[in-house]
């Protein structure tokens, strides 16, 4: 059966990345505006030092958001990451205090994996929707933390703090950690079967199931990977803080902000479309904004106002496509 031929849809990468272009345009925009604004006040924004600060401040949120990307693409989401970051920071620090660096990292990641597994199983096997499941998990972790910790605990050896404090040239080591995580994630999502299955499950779970995709395993894996990223964030914070802190993850609202960052990166909140490249853009946008406000000595409270506005406006812009999609749906057509 023939029909008017249809042009191929360009390189898959670009396509899957959703409106990555837009995201980075927005980033550049924010950066330029920041530059002008700061320059207007006689400061200089585009210094190595400042750029480094922006990167440095993106690491923790970046790690969490990259993880969040997995679950959101898979049509889920994870509200427990904030507490998980705190928990893993503590596990890291305490294990290192007694058992040394490697066991510390491993222990943290193990704990993270278990929590992720828990989320995944509750979502898939018990059929509790991800919002409630992970919210419940968050409450449980919170209870555990508040009951067992009364402040920073554990201590990491100085050798390990280099992860948090050292620089290669001007670039903080931790930025390489983030870069590596992003690279791996990009690779997993684009090039592996798991990646394909994550997009499928997020796009339409039933279709994926009928096509022989192991939906349960895929979802669970996504949750585990998300938790592992949060775990890495915890490890990083432990090295930076020199100890674990029960509020390391919650003070920064990593749960909601990471979701915002992902969506800000052009990934569909409903899942099935988007990618990690956009997420990085989203994180950088938030970090840059923050930095600009610091430079401009803007009232910290006012930051939140602008943050909120930026997130909504940006998503509204991407949503244009969403609107078209909806119109198409209205037409029930291809």
């Amino acid at each position: 059966m023939t029909a008017p031929s249809v042009a191929p849809a360009g390189r898959p990468r670009l396509r899957l990345g959703g409106p990555v272009g837009v995201v980075y345009l927005a980033l550049v925009g924010v950066y330029l505006v920041g530059w002008l604004a700061v320059a207007a006040r006689g400061g200089d924004f585009v210094t190595v030092g400042n750029t480094v600060t922006i990167l440095q401040n993106s690491v923790a949120l970046g790690l969490v958001a990259v993880g969040q990307t997995y679950v959101i693409l898979a049509g889920s989401l994870d509200l427990s990451v904030a507490y998980l970051v705190s928990l893993t920071s503590l596990v890291t620090a305490q294990t290192m205090q007694t058992a040394g660096v490697v066991p510390g990292v491993l222990a943290a990641l193990a704990v993270a994996a278990v929590v992720g597994l828990g989320n995944g199983l509750v979502v898939t096997r018990l059929g509790v929707n991800a919002f409630i499941a992970t919210l419940g998990m968050a409450l449980i972790l919170r209870g555990y933390l508040e009951h067992n910790y009364t402040g920073p605990a554990g201590a990491v050896p100085t050798s390990f703090q280099h992860l948090g404090y050292d620089r290669v040239g001007p670039v903080p080591v931790s930025v390489f950690l983030l870069a590596a995580t992003v690279a791996v994630t990009w690779f997993v999502l684009r090039r592996t079967r798991l990646g394909h299955h994550i997009y499928a499950v997020g796009g339409d779970e039933e279709v994926a199931r009928l096509s022989g995709v192991p939906t349960t395993r895929t979802r669970v894996t996504a949750h585990v990977l998300c938790a592992l990223c949060a775990g890495l964030a915890g490890v990083f914070l432990a090295s930076r803080l020199g100890a674990g802190a029960p509020w390391a993850g919650t003070e920064a609202q990593y749960d909601l902000v990471s979701i915002a960052a992902v969506v800000l990166g052009g990934t569909l909140l409903a899942g099935g479309r988007g990618g990690v490249a956009g997420t990085v853009g989203g994180v950088l946008i938030l970090a840059t904004l923050d930095n600009v406000f610091d430079q401009l000595a803007v009232d910290p409270f006012f930051k939140n106002v602008v943050r909120g506005v930026v997130i909504v406006v940006a998503v509204a812009l991407y949503a244009r496509r969403g609107v078209d999609a909806r119109r198409r749906r209205m037409r029930g057509g291809s």
């Binding site: 031929s5 249809v6 898959p12 396509r15 090039r191 796009g203 022989g212």
Partner: protein
């Protein structure tokens, strides 16, 4: 077609029930190599369920399943696929945001060797997809294309290729022609024949009788989950099949057309109207008249229906209802002007599936005619309607999604008739509806016409179109390529819609 007598697939004593409801009872069926074996039955008879059991989607409660005489169990779709069973589901199973290749190989993406076995081998995926597409003679689109960019017919091709990609020796087609128009059906026929020639055995489900007789070697009839007969198509006829399906005789003819006297004033008049998908549409529809709309997939029929209904309004030209100019710019406006549209996508656009039959039937009244405006029409009237339409719903507070396709369509009709429209637009009103319900709907539509309603009916099923229409408009490339009087020949319709003939 040639086929040896050794069955590739044997189903014995297959039973299946969902949450206590028996859906399949002791079903036996066998499928010979290179055979096209049709499975027919009313909505809800269990056809799709049987196929899903065969394809490993559902686990049977009891019963045997053999391939080449070897017993098999399929815990999941993948294992059935690996055993050489490909299926085209009744529901669409494509991801619009993924490329054709990614869809075709979803769940079995090819991987490299050694270290590279971690990676999906994109090149291989694309090449093999291209090959498969060529095999079925679809060269019009590239494996990298996003599925959402394909036409309905092209998406159907992808479905078929997807089903074949696992080197299927058994191909299950569950109502493959439902979304296709007559002209694409022809292409599907060719494909089926080519496949059987290669020895592939096909299980073919359809509500369209003629397809059964055109394609199938044998036909198995299901009624309420039981096999009521398996016959060779050459020694049976429509009447017999229908009796086996419905359990009673069913008149083999359409209700009589409108006599000249029955036609009233011009109800709908469209002149030189158009929008981004339609141009230069000029139509008149009289009260009491049923005007059929024919055309190929993508010819603009749904666009036309939606334009009349204000969903994608006309942007040019003029439109009059009972002589008064109207140009509805929203469904709401159209509804208030007395226009109703039964959409082609019943589940997606017609029903709120998790609401009760009542709430569905009352939806239009509640939405568009608040308070006083809807004096008279109300719950009572709606209940009567449902009864008149003979909706077998168990109870009117039952959720609509549990109804069979036919009953769902009747609920949609009830929803619109409750609003007392003056112009009723039907887009594929009997798509996927079984013979029994189909006949009922035809009767009912004609009744309404007799009572003075003006009806526009889009259909891809030519017999229906010819049997029901007092006049037929043929669409091509977004405009009307010709208008034919009652009882036109299929062949003329086809020629007008393909452009082989240009209206005088």
């Amino acid at each position: 077609m040639n086929h040896s007598r050794t069955p590739v697939l044997t189903v014995r004593g297959m039973s299946k029930s969902f949450v206590g409801i028996r859906v399949l009872t002791e079903v036996d069926l066998d499928l010979a190599r290179g055979e096209v074996h049709a499975v027919v039955g009313e909505n809800g008879a269990g056809k799709s369920t049987l196929m899903k059991v065969v394809a490993g989607v559902h686990q049977p409660d009891s019963g045997r399943l053999e391939i080449d005489g070897v017993p098999h169990r399929f815990p999941d779709p993948a294992s059935a696929r690996d055993a050489g069973i490909g299926i085209i589901h009744q529901e669409l199973t494509l991801l619009p945001d993924r490329s054709v290749a990614e869809n075709v190989f979803l769940g079995r993406e090819p991987v490299g060797r050694g270290v590279r076995r971690l990676l999906v081998d994109r090149a291989a995926m694309v090449d093999r997809t291209r090959a498969l597409l060529a095999e079925v003679g679809a060269v019009s689109f590239d494996p990298d294309t996003l599925v959402r960019r394909l036409s309905v017919a092209q998406q159907q091709v992808v479905e078929i290729v997807k089903a074949l990609a696992g080197d299927a020796r058994i191909l299950v087609m569950d109502e493959p022609t439902a979304p296709l128009a007559e002209h694409e059906v022809g292409l599907l026929y060719d494909l089926v024949r080519r496949l059987t020639a290669r020895g592939i055995a096909i299980l073919y489900i359809s509500h369209r009788m003629r397809e059964i007789f055109d394609l199938a070697d044998r036909v198995t009839v299901l009624k309420d989950g039981r096999v009521t007969g398996t016959l060779a198509t050459r020694d049976t006829n429509r009447g017999e099949l229908v009796r086996l399906m419905v359990g009673r005789e069913l008149r083999d003819y359409y209700p009589p057309l409108a006599a000249p006297g029955d036609l009233g004033e011009v109800r709908l008049a469209v002149r030189g109207a158009g929008n981004d998908r339609l141009r230069d549409i000029t139509v008149e529809v009289r009260a009491g008249e049923v005007v059929g709309v024919a055309g190929l997939q993508g010819s603009g029929r749904t666009s036309f229906a939606r334009a009349l209904f204000g969903a994608d309004p006309f942007t040019t030209g003029e439109m009059r209802l009972d002589g008064r100019p109207v140009r509805p710019t929203s469904p709401r406006a159209a509804i208030r002007a007395g226009i109703a549209l039964v959409t082609e996508d019943r589940k997606g656009q017609g029903l709120v599936l998790r609401q009760s039959v009542r709430d569905n039937a009352l939806l239009v009244l509640r939405a568009a005619f608040a308070g006083r405006r809807r004096a008279g029409v109300g719950p009572v009237a709606v209940t009567e309607l449902l009864t008149r339409l003979d909706v077998r719903a168990g109870a009117s507070d039952r959720e609509v999604r549990f109804l069979s396709g036919g009953n769902q369509q009747k609920v949609v009709l009830a929803k619109w008739l409750a609003a007392r429209p003056r112009l009723l637009v039907l887009d594929e009103p009997t798509r996927g509806v079984d013979v029994g319900a189909k006949a009922a709907i035809h009767e009912f539509v004609r009744d309404l016409a007799r009572q003075g309603l003006a009806v526009v009916m889009v259909s891809s099923e030519l017999p229906e179109l010819i049997g029901m229409s007092d006049r037929v408009l043929v669409f091509r490339d977004g405009t009307i390529s010709g208008e034919l009087p009652a009882r036109p020949s299929e062949e003329r319709i086809m020629r007008l819609s393909t452009g082989a003939e240009v209206a005088a």
